[in-house]
Each structure stands twice: as C-alpha cells, then as structure tokens.
C-alpha cells in the first residue's frame, strides 16, 4: 500500500470539508476519485500532498507520515493541482529544468527530453508556456508531475477543458503510468473512470459513500451505468 489515509478530517471554521475519511491505494491500480463539486476531493488531495495540514487523522505515502516526514512524502509524489497552475513567463524547458533542479535529478537534460517525448510536447518545447494552448499546458503540468519518476501520482482533474483527442492522449498516458505507479485522479467524466480506473472512491459532503473495485461497485448497486450509481449515491445523503 503506497497511500494509507486514516480518518482524516479538515475543518474550515464551521464547515467540515473532509470528514474522517479513510482509504488506501496501491501500485498498479488506478484509483478514480469522484464526487460532486465541493465534496472535498481537492481538499483531500491537498492534504495528501502536504499543501495544507489536516485538522485530525493521519496519512502516509510510501510509508512516510505526512506530519513527521513531509519532505520524503513530497519527494515521492507527483502532483498536478486543479486548474493546472504554471509559470506562464517561463519557456517549457525552463519550467521543466526548474522542477528538475528542485528534485536534483541527475542527467536532467536527458530526463527532460524523455518526458517531453512521453507527453508529446516535442513540437512546442521551445515556446513560452503562455503561448501554449490549453491542451499543451496540461501536458506541461503532467510533464512536471512525472519528471522525477515519482512512485505516486496525484492528478486533480487532469482532463478538464481538453478536446476529445487530447483527452484520449492524456488518458492513455495515465493508463501507462498506472501500470507501475500508484495513481489517484479525480474527474467528473464517468466514461473516463470506466475506461481507465480499477478502483473507485465516491465522496460526498466530505464522507466516503463508496470505495470499491469498479466491477464490485456495479454489481452491488444493481445494473446501470456508473453515472446512475453516482447520482443515486450522492443524492441519498
């Protein structure tokens, strides 16, 4: 198990954004993180990546506790935040070089070239990030996340705003990466989950309402598409 989350809560003032959730994820199984907007998906991801501290509970990534060993946790995670923030004034290679320097990657030019190849950025690699279209920016974000070859990938809505061709490209990339790494990714597109995820967690109002293999989830909730299951589960509460 490379991610173990144990009863994590996050309270903002009066509001409980995340309410005692526990789950785990292991390599080779892509985990789809679903839930309505505001359910606490991004907050959970921000906690796991050590961006914001949890109010209570504990979690570990690759055996390192979030609170005790945050630097090791960060070293093992590749994170693509929601809305994909990027340094628009930097050139693609500059941005990747910056990330490579942070992780002190040996032979960084070779690795950067590899990642550019992997994410299909070849034609755009000499441009400023500000000059790239949304799809290519998303690839830069993904390239930054996988640059240091992390064991765990956390991707917050990596496919929003892309055209169908780009979505399929990114999806295949995630699928490939998921063969050896632990991947958690959130999305609102149900077909996407059915296409690439093996494990599904549905979260609603800060609580987990389903955590199962995709097939099991479908069996348990009678026949019907994942969309129907999602609507049923998140409307009940």
């Amino acid at each position: 198990m490379s991610i173990v989350v144990n009863k994590i809560s996050k309270v903002y003032g009066q509001q409980k954004a995340v309410d005692e959730i526990s789950f785990s994820a292991s390599p080779g199984k892509i985990l789809g993180f679903l839930g309505p907007n505001g359910a606490g998906k991004s907050t959970t991801m921000k906690i796991i990546t050590c961006f914001i501290p949890q109010t209570s509970g504990s979690a570990s990534v690759c055996g390192f506790d979030l609170m005790e060993n945050p630097m090791e946790v960060r070293r093992n995670i590749g994170y693509l935040p929601e809305h994909n923030p990027l340094y628009l004034d930097l050139y693609v290679k500059e941005a990747l070089g910056f990330m490579a320097d942070i992780y002190q990657i040996p032979k960084k030019h070779k690795r950067i070239a590899e990642v550019i190849e992997l994410t299909g950025l070849g034609d755009e690699q000499h441009k400023k990030i500000a000059a790239l279209s949304k799809g290519y920016r998303q690839r830069v974000g993904l390239a930054q996340a996988i640059l240091h070859d992390p064991k765990v990938l956390i991707l917050d809505e990596p496919t929003t705003g892309l055209d169908p061709n780009q979505i399929i490209g990114i999806r295949n990339l995630i699928k490939d990466l998921g063969k050896t790494k632990t991947v958690i990714f959130s999305t609102h597109i149900m077909q996407e989950v059915e296409a690439i995820c093996e494990q599904v967690i549905i979260i609603d109002k800060g609580k987990i309402v389903a955590d199962d293999d995709l097939k099991e989830l479908k069996n348990k909730n009678g026949q019907g598409s994942l969309e129907e299951i999602f609507i049923r589960l998140t409307h009940m509460s």
Binding site: F51, R75, D101, I102
Partner: protein, 242 residues
C-alpha cells in the same frame, strides 16, 4: 534556494520586469544627477555623489515594491504557490530564494551607477578629487537599505494576493521605516525618548554608513531588520489557509 533564485530571475528577465525597472532606475538617477538643476552635479560644482545617495532611497521606495510585489502575491493568485509548496522545498528556501532574486535585481540596478562615480572622479579639477571612502560606504549603505526594503516588499507580497495592495503596503512600510520614525520622534510628548525612536528608523543608520564608517551596530541593525521581516514572511506562509 538557488533553484528558486534561478527561476525567479528567469521570470524577471523573460517578462521584461527586470529591464524596465533597471532602465527606469538609471533614467531617474541620471536625470537627478546630471539634468535637473536642483540636484545636478554640474550646477552644484563639487565632485561628490551626495545628491545620488540622497535621492536613491526615495526611488527605491517605489522601485523595490514594484519588483517585489509579484513575488509571492502572484504565485498565490495564479496557484503556482501550490506547485512550489508541494515540492520538496522548505518554506525558508522559498522565502530566501525569492528575497535573493529581488535583491539581485536591485544590485543589477546599482552596478551601472558606478559609471557616475567614474565620471565624477574624472571631472574633478584634479582628477580623483572625490571622497572614495564615503562613496564605498554609501554603496554598502544602499545595498543594505535595498535589502531592508526588499524584505519589507517580500513581506507585503505575502500578506495579500493582490499585487496592487502589496505594492501600496510595501511603499508605505518602506517610507515609514525610512523616515517615519524620525518624524514621529519630533512629536513634543516623545522628546525624552526621541533619539531611541530615531534609532529604529533606517535613515539614521543609512546616513551613518554613508559617512564611510562601517559601524557593526549599523550592520547589525540592517541584518536584524532583514531577518525579522523574512521571519514574518515565513510565519505568514506557514499559517496558510488558502
């Protein structure tokens, strides 16, 4: 730390911020020193750079906040701060890296003004008739002053997501730290402790270094001033709730 410094410098030079601020700084100091009759060396008639060293703190007061206002505010607004904070970097590395990047721009703006020194050096009735000790002291003073303003600017940049607000706060803080204490000390009711209050301000220490005497007390003052505001910045970043 050095990676942040490198990235921020690349950012400054890619986005023209560096060229424009340095250019404007040189333009304004050039105008004050050689063109405007009130402060021009040619009209003044003495081979000294006093007018330069008197005017630069006031230019820095606006210029340094303009350089620093983006550094953390923009990262927060654009969300790239999340990118930094989730990498294996400590908050100290981020704060100090950003501080050094902004200070490098200040340094790069100062270096070309050495030409003014060389010019005045040559222009003296007998060349070289200039108080070089005072000039060296003043440059060290300016650098320390720049450092103090930069730390104030970084601090202001951390407290708001809005660049304009950071800029306004930074200008006010710089102005107050530079000459505010001195003015307050002149209040009638504070006259007993007036000299202590003046000692809190930057101006007194800057003037003292400018005379060419590098007193450890002044040096200590500037270093603790800078450390204090970097510490405040660090505290703000740690208490992040966004």
């Amino acid at each position: 730390m050095l990676t942040i410094l490198k990235k921020d410098l690349a950012d400054f030079f890619n986005s023209l911020v560096a060229y424009i601020t340095i250019g404007i700084f040189l333009l304004v100091t050039g105008l004050f020193l050689w063109v405007f009759p009130e402060s021009s060396i040619l009209d003044y008639g003495y081979a000294g750079l006093d007018s330069l060293f008197n005017v630069v703190p006031y230019i820095f007061m606006f210029l340094i906040p303009a350089i620093t206002m983006r550094s953390i505010a923009e990262e927060r607004k654009e969300g790239t701060f999340e990118l930094l904070a989730t990498r294996p970097l400590t908050d100290w590395q981020i704060v100090i890296g950003k501080f050094l990047a902004c200070l490098s721009i200040v340094l790069l703006a100062l270096i070309p003004t050495l030409i003014y020194y060389i010019t005045v050096y040559q222009l003296g009735v007998s060349p070289g008739n200039i108080d070089s000790g005072a000039v060296i002291g003043s440059y060290i003073g300016l650098l320390l002053l720049g450092g103090a303003f930069t730390s104030l600017g970084i601090f202001s940049s951390a407290i708001s997501k809005n660049q304009i607000i950071s800029f306004a706060i930074a200008v006010f803080l710089c102005f107050f730290a530079f000459s505010g204490f001195e003015s307050i000390s002149q209040l009638l009711s504070l006259q007993n402790i007036g000299s202590y209050i003046t000692g809190l301000g930057i101006n007194q220490h800057y003037q003292s270094i400018s005379r060419g005497v590098l007193d450890t007390r002044d040096l200590l003052y500037f270093l603790s001033f800078i450390s204090l505001f970097l510490l405040f910045t660090h505290i703000i970043l740690r208490a992040r709730k966004w």
